[in-house]
Amino acid sequence: MTHQQIQDNEVIERYVRYQLTPAERQAFQEHYFACDECFDQVQMSARFIAGVREASRSGVLTAEHDERSARSSILPAIFYPNRIRNWAVPALAMCFLVASLLLGVWAMSVLRENQRLSRQASEQSRVAEELQRSEAKIRELEASGTASAEQLEALRKENERLKEEIATAAQQRETQVAQVRQSDSNVPVINIYPMGDTQRSGGGSDVNQLRLPRGAGKFVLILSDFQSGYHNYRLQFTSPAGRIVMQRPGLKADRNGEIRVLVTRTLFGAGEYRLKLYGQNNAIAEYVVQVE
């Protein structure tokens, strides 16, 4: 058996597939015992055909398997440099760029917010110190008896102003902390309207209905349509039993003439609550809220 005969008649493959006659089989065995090249080829063919049959059995040669395995190649990419498609590199680069940009914007906003909070904190401590000094001065003047009644009254008014300022800052801080702890999307915001403003409160009733979603730990009330013009406001919550359950001093109206109050849900069970808004100790609006 010669090399040429082996090539022409596909002897190697037929040997591996047991398609040779016993005489041909032995002749080829004697050949590959003396021929390194044919021995190498017959070994490789035996492995190849065995692998193809096994792959056919296990489904590796089907199209579905190819799609699955393309996502988890078991060999390093050096075998398949063409696998990385032309569009993949710019697409990945673009994704990375956008992600970096978003990260940068987020970092900037956090930095600015930190700076703002830092400024607020220093302002609050300044006001607190000023208040302490003012109180000490009043005590000193009262003890010495050297100050006139007008001077003392002016100092007391100044004290009140500082206290209100501190209370306002505390309210703002509480609102900010609550906003940080709970995302805005989870905090219901409800507009309420005072008694006598039935046209806007809807349904021809003075009662503002509060339907809070389950799981809402806090909610924001927006008070509108009250007599504006005061520097600070105070809101008083009265329970259905007529008991004052909460007061919020130091509230400020925004540029739209509305007041926003963050309220903790757990303080309010179901029932009808009355909310009185005061400006300089004058009741200027009353809201009726039905919590469901």
Partner: protein, 190 residues
């Protein structure tokens, strides 16, 4: 075609006849893999192939020491002849000693004798080859080697010429060879 190993075979035979132990080792080195492959092809059992290799070498060395090989140029044919005799004896012994149930189960097992040539590198190489082939080329390999359909039928089903099938086959084998060699190199270096 010239046989490059003829001269070496003649020298090996004469050295073994003179009791040269190094020549015996060289003889084993030269034909060991071939003998194992031949036995594995016939018996499909690594353990039995190992036994056949050992028994064949024992007989070959005894015969050479006794000067029973008259034509040293035909050493390879001589070894193949002895190996096939050992294989026949092994088959007879197997069928004579095995319980019927075991024998039947082995016959069922012999429906896929190629399993003897499977190892991790072969499976991984085939998987990688499959990824590089077109769906139609993969389908051809399955129809040809697994379903064992005739080429003419496959050509008709796939809508390609028969000559094209031969090209697909040789290309796939070539890819397999390259990947298998790389994997073997990796395994050897690990």
């Amino acid at each position: 075609m010239p046989r490059p190993t003829t001269l070496a075979d003649r020298e090996l035979v004469s050295s073994v006849e003179l009791g040269d132990k190094l020549a015996e080792a060289a003889l084993y080195e030269k034909y060991s893999d071939r003998l194992y492959f031949l036995a594995l092809s016939e018996l499909h059992s690594p353990e039995e192939a190992e036994d056949v290799r050992a028994e064949t070498f024992t007989r070959v060395l005894l015969a050479l020491r006794d000067g029973k090989l008259r034509k040293p140029d035909s050493l390879s044919s001589f070894i193949v002849g002895i190996a096939l005799n050992v294989i026949r004896e092994s088959r007879r012994q197997r069928s004579g000693t095995e319980p019927l149930e075991d024998h039947e189960s082995k016959l069922v097992g012999e429906a896929s004798p190629e399993r003897a040539f499977l190892d991790q590198e072969v499976s991984r190489s085939i998987e990688e080859v499959a990824k590089q082939l077109k769906p139609r080329e993969r389908e051809f390999l399955k129809m040809y080697y697994y379903d064992e359909l005739p080429k003419r039928e496959i050509a008709r089903v796939l809508g390609v010429k028969e000559e094209r099938l031969r090209l697909i086959k040789s290309r796939a084998l070539q890819k397999f060879r390259e990947i298998y060699r790389k994997l073997q190199t990796q395994t050897d270096t690990e």
